[in-house]
Amino acid sequence: MNDTARERILGRLRKAVGQERTLPAVPPPPETPPLSRDDKIERLNTLMTAMRSEVHLVPRDAWVEKLKAILQEKGLTQMIYAPGTPIGDAVAAAWSEGEGGLPALRPYEQAVESFKEELFAIDAGITGTAGAVAETGALILWPDETEPRLISLVPAVHIAVLDADRIYDTLDEAVEKGGWAEGMPTNALLVSGPSKTADIELVLAFGVHGPKALVVLVLT
Amino acid sequence: MRQYPPKPEKAYFFGTCLVDMAYPKAGMAAIRLMQREGVRVIFPPEQSCCGQPAYNSGFPAEARQVAEKQMEIFDKPYPIVVPSGSCAGMMRHHYPKIFGNSPLRARAEAFSERVFEWSEFLVHVLDIQLEDRGAPMTVTWHSSCHAAREMGVIGDSKALIRKLKNVTLVELENEHQCCGFGGTFSVKQPEISEAMVEDKIEDIQQTGAAALLGGDCGCLMNITGAMAHRRIPITGHHLAEFIWERIHGD
C-alpha cells in the first residue's frame, strides 16, 4: 500500500511539473573580503558572548590549566569526556583524583542504554569541535564513534574546545571547504550558545532542555 | 531607482473614481499645482476607474475590461499623473500582470511606464518649490500601503510637506501599518477593519497633530470617517488640497 502511495504521489508530481522545465539559476553568494584570523576570532567571540556563551581565548599549551580553573570556580561534581579523542585524552592525562575542587572524570565508554541513568546525573561534559562559523557565531560539532552525541546535550554545562585555526568565515565556506557533501556524519551540529527560549512573553531565558551554560575554549 | 523624464509640456491627469465622487476639490488642487509649474494638464472626460476594486475583489475579467478602456483613453505618450498611490500602483504594477500573455500586455507595460503618483511627479519631474502663506500648524502624514510599498513614494509626499515652512510634520509611530481600509475589506471584514482604524487613530492622536494629511482618498475616507464618528476634532485632507490652500494663505 505504501508503494502505491509513493507511486501516486510521484505520479501527480511528475504530471504537475511536466517535462519541459526551465530551472532558475541560483545567484552566487556575495563576494565578501575574507576575514583575518583575528577578525574571525573576534567576531565569533562577540557573537557567542552575546548569546551568553563563556568564551575564553587561551594559548594552545595552557588550555587544560584554564579548564581546571573554570571548573574549580563552577564547583561541578562530575564531567563526562570521550576517551580516544585528543581533547578527552588530554583531560584524562591531566586529571588526578582529589585535586582541589575538580569534578570527577567519567569516560563515555559504553552504549547509552547501559548507563543512561548515570549520564542524566552528570553535570558537565567536554567535547572537541570541528571548527566554527564566524559570520553567525556558532561552533560546528561532529560527533562520531569516539565522541558521542549526548556529551554536548545532557549535562548542564557543556565545555567545547575550538582550534582558532579552524574558524570559517561563513557556513557556506564550511560546507564547501569542509567537503560536507562528500560525507555527512550521523549528526552534525551547529551550536551558538546555551539552550534558550522566548516562548513566554518573548522573555529570553537561558537553560531550557539543553545545557544551561556553554564554555568555549578557543586555542590560539 | 526610477529614472524620471524632464518636465513635459503636457501631462495627463487621471482623477481616480474616489476623487471624482468624494474629493473633487483635491483633484482640482492637484491639477492647478501642476499647471502652476507650466504643465498643460489634460483631463480626458471618458476616464473612470483604474479597475482596482474589481481586481482586488476577485473579478480580474471585469478589471481587465475597465483597464483596457483607460489604456485606450490615455493613449498619447504623455505622463499619466495620479493623485493616489493605490490607483497609481494598480496602473503601474498590476496592469501588465492582468493582461497575462495576451497581445495587450506589451501595451500595458508601455502604459505603466508613464504612470506617476502625484507627489512623486511634483518632486522628481517638476522639482516644485512652495511658499507657505499659512499660520503655523502641526500635521501628521498617513501613507497608503500601496504608496509606500508599491510606488515607494512616501518620502516624496513628506518632502512636499517639509517644503511648507510653517508646517511641522510629526510622523506616526507605525507609519507603515495599514489603516484598515482595504477597499471591499472594510465592508467584508468590518470588525477587523474597525480594530485597525482604532489603532491608527490612537497613533494619530499621539502625534498631537491638528490635521491628518494623506495621498489616498480611500484611507482618508476611512480614517476621517472613523475620527468623526468618535468626535475627534482632527481634520483629514488630501495633500494636494492642503498645499493649494497653504500657498494661498488659507
Partner: protein, 480 residues
C-alpha cells in the same frame, strides 16, 4: 500530569464568529500587539542592510523554485540517499495514512510514550489526538507547545505557539495542571518547571518525533533548527526517531542550506542562527554509543501535490514556515491565530488553507486581507502572497477555477454587481449618472448592506454634488 485533548466536537468553521470572539479579548490583543512589535523590530535590526537582504532572498527564492520544479526527482533522490544511510522512508498521501504509519512503528516497538519536538506537519495530522485515542502518550516538549497542550489548545503562531498567552495565564496553567507546582509568574522559574518536568520524559521516552525544516536530497540529511534543545533530545535520546515532513521541504544540495538557514532564523526570530542546527543523516552507526537505532522519515503529501501544477499557486509551496508574514500582518496581529480556524494562520494560511481544505469551507479566509503587501515585502522567499490572495478570491467566484471548491460564491449578487460596475466604468454617460446619483442620494441611502457595515464605526462617506469631471469641464481643463 494532566493534558487535555484538543477540542473534540468540531463546530462548522465560522470565521466571522471567530473574529468577533478574538477581537473581544482585550488581553489577547494587547499580548499580540506587544509580541508582534517586538518580533518585527528584531527582524528589522537583523536585516537592516536592504541590498544584502534582497540579494539573500533572491537566492532563497531561486533555491526553492528549483527544488519545486524538480520535486519528484529530488524526493526520489532523498529517498535513495536516506535508505542508503539507513533511514527508513515512508510515503503518506493523507494525514490519516501518516498517522497509521506512526502508529505502526510505535506498535512494532510496543511503545506507549512519545516525546515530540515542534512540528507543524504533526499539527496537520492532529497526531496528538490520534495517538491519545490509541492509548499513547504524545507529549509536546517545546516550551510553547507544552503550555498549550496542557490547556488543550492548538498553536496560535507557527513559531511561538503560546504567544497569545501572558505569564499569568501560563503560571495558572502550570499550577493547576502539573502536580506539586507552586504558582509563580517568574519566567525563569516557569522555564525551570518545564525543564524539570520534561527531563524525566526525555529519559523515559520510547520514541522521539520531530518535524523537518529542510531535507537535503544530495546527502539524505534532515535539518532541524531550534533553541531549546528539546528537538535534539527527541532526536537523540529515545531509541527510535520518527521525522514527519511535508513533501515540499526538500532542497537539492547541502550548499542550499546556509542561505535558507539565514533567511529562516532571521525572518522567524531575528537571529543570525538558532542555538542549535541539528543535521541528521543516519541512525546510530555500528560503534557509535548513542543516538536512535532507527530513524524513520514520513513524507506527507496532504494536498501539496495538487498545488504544484499551477505555476502561480505553486509559489505557495516555496514557504519555509518562518512565520514572519504573521508577525507583519495587520490582520493577524489583531485577531491572532486561532480565529483562522485551521493549522496555518496569517497570510500564509490565507493562501495555503483554502488550497489544502477547499474553498467551499474556507472562502472567507482570503477576504481577511487589506492587500497591504506587508507580507510580500518581508517574505524571505518572495512569495507574492497578495497576488495569490487575489487569485483565490477569484477562484471563489470562478466556476471554471482549478482550486478545490472553486466557484462556491458564483451565485452571489456580487457577481452581477461587478459586471454592472465594469459596464458603468466603460461608458462615460452611465458613469456620470452614477456619480451624480451618489452626490444627490448618497446622504439619503438607507443603512443596509455595505453602508451598514461601513457606518458601524465611521460616518457615512460624503459624496460631492459636483464631481471632478464637472469641475474640470467648468474650469476649462483641456480634454484635447
Amino acid at each position: 500530569m494532566e493534558t487535555k485533548d484538543t477540542k473534540r466536537v468540531e463546530k462548522p468553521f465560522d470565521f466571522k464568529a471567530n473574529v468577533i470572539k478574538a477581537l473581544g479579548n482585550r488581553q489577547l490583543r494587547s499580548n499580540l500587539k506587544f509580541a508582534m512589535g517586538s518580533m518585527t523590530a528584531k527582524r528589522k535590526a537583523l536585516f537592516s542592510d536592504t541590498a544584502a537582504f534582497e540579494a539573500l532572498r533572491a537566492r532563497g527564492n531561486a533555491i526553492r523554485r528549483r527544488a519545486l520544479l524538480q520535486l519528484p526527482e529530488l524526493l526520489e533522490q532523498l529517498e535513495r540517499k536516506c535508505t542508503e544511510n539507513g533511514i527508513t522512508v515512508h510515503w503518506a498521501e493523507t494525514t490519516d495514512a501518516a498517522n497509521e504509519i506512526v502508529l505502526g512503528i510505535l506498535r512494532d516497538h510496543g511503545a506507549t510514550r512519545v516525546v515530540k519536538g515542534k512540528s507543524m506537519v504533526s499539527e496537520e495530522m492532529h497526531l496528538n489526538r490520534f495517538l491519545g485515542d490509541h492509548g499513547i502518550e504524545s507529549l509536546e516538549t517545546d516550551l510553547g507547545e507544552f503550555i498549550i497542550q496542557l490547556d488543550g489548545e492548538t498553536p496560535s503562531h507557527i513559531i511561538v505557539p503560546a504567544i497569545h498567552k501572558n505569564k499569568q495565564e501560563i503560571a495558572r496553567t502550570f499550577h493547576e495542571k502539573l502536580p506539586d507546582t507552586p504558582y509563580t509568574e517568574v519566567v525563569e522559574e516557569l522555564n525551570a518547571i518545564a525543564r524539570k518536568t520534561l527531563r524525566k520524559k526525555f529519559y523515559e521516552g520510547e520514541v522521539g518525533l520531530s518535524g523537518v525544516n529542510m531535507a537535503v536530497a544530495e546527502t539524505g540529511t534532515l535539518c532541524l533548527v531550534e533553541n531549546e534543545g528539546n528537538g535534539r533530545m527527541c532526536t537523540t535520546v529515545p531509541p527510535v526517531h520518527i521525522a514527519v515532513m511535508g513533501i515540499e521541504k526538500v532542497v537539492e544540495k547541502l550548499s542550499d542550506v546556509p542561505p535558507l538557514l539565514r533567511l529562516l532564523t532571521g525572518s522567524a526570530t531575528g537571529q543570525l542562527v538558532t542555538t542549535y542546527v541539528n543535521m541528521i543523516t543516519s541512525p546510530r552507526k555500528p560503534g557509535e554509543k548513542d543516538g536512535p537505532r532507527e530513524v524513520h522519515l514520513i513524507l506527507l503529501d496532504n494536498g501539496r501535490s495538487t498545488i504544484l501544477p499551477d505555476e502561480k499557486l505553486r509559489q505557495t509551496l516555496q514557504c519555509i514556515r518562518c512565520g514572519t508574514c504573521l508577525n507583519h500582518c495587520p490582520v493577524y496581529t489583531r485577531i491572532g491565530g486561532h480565529a483562522y480556524g485551521f493549522v496555518y494562520p496569517g497570510p500564509i494560511g490565507k493562501i495555503l488553507t483554502p488550497q489544502m481544505e477547499g474553498l467551499d469551507r474556507t472562502s472567507a479566509i482570503p477576504t481577511a486581507s487589506t492587500l497591504c503587501n506587508a507580507c510580500e515585502e518581508v517574505c524571505p522567499v518572495q512569495i507574492p502572497i497578495p497576488d495569490l490572495i487575489r487569485r483565490l478570491r477569484n477562484e471563489s467566484y470562478d466556476p471554471d477555477g482549478s482550486v478545490c471548491g472553486h466557484g462556491v460564491k458564483r451565485n452571489l449578487a456580487e457577481t452581477a454587481v461587478w459586471k454592472a460596475w465594469a459596464l458603468v466604468n466603460r461608458h462615460r454617460a452611465l458613469n456620470a449618472v452614477g456619480t451624480r446619483m451618489a452626490g444627490i442620494f448618497g446622504p439619503m441611502l438607507p443603512r443596509i448592506g455595505p453602508l451598514a457595515e461601513w457606518t458601524r464605526s465611521r460616518n457615512r462617506p460624503e459624496f460631492a454634488r459636483k464631481s471632478l469631471h464637472d469641475m474640470a469641464r467648468e474650469e476649462g481643463i483641456s480634454d484635447e
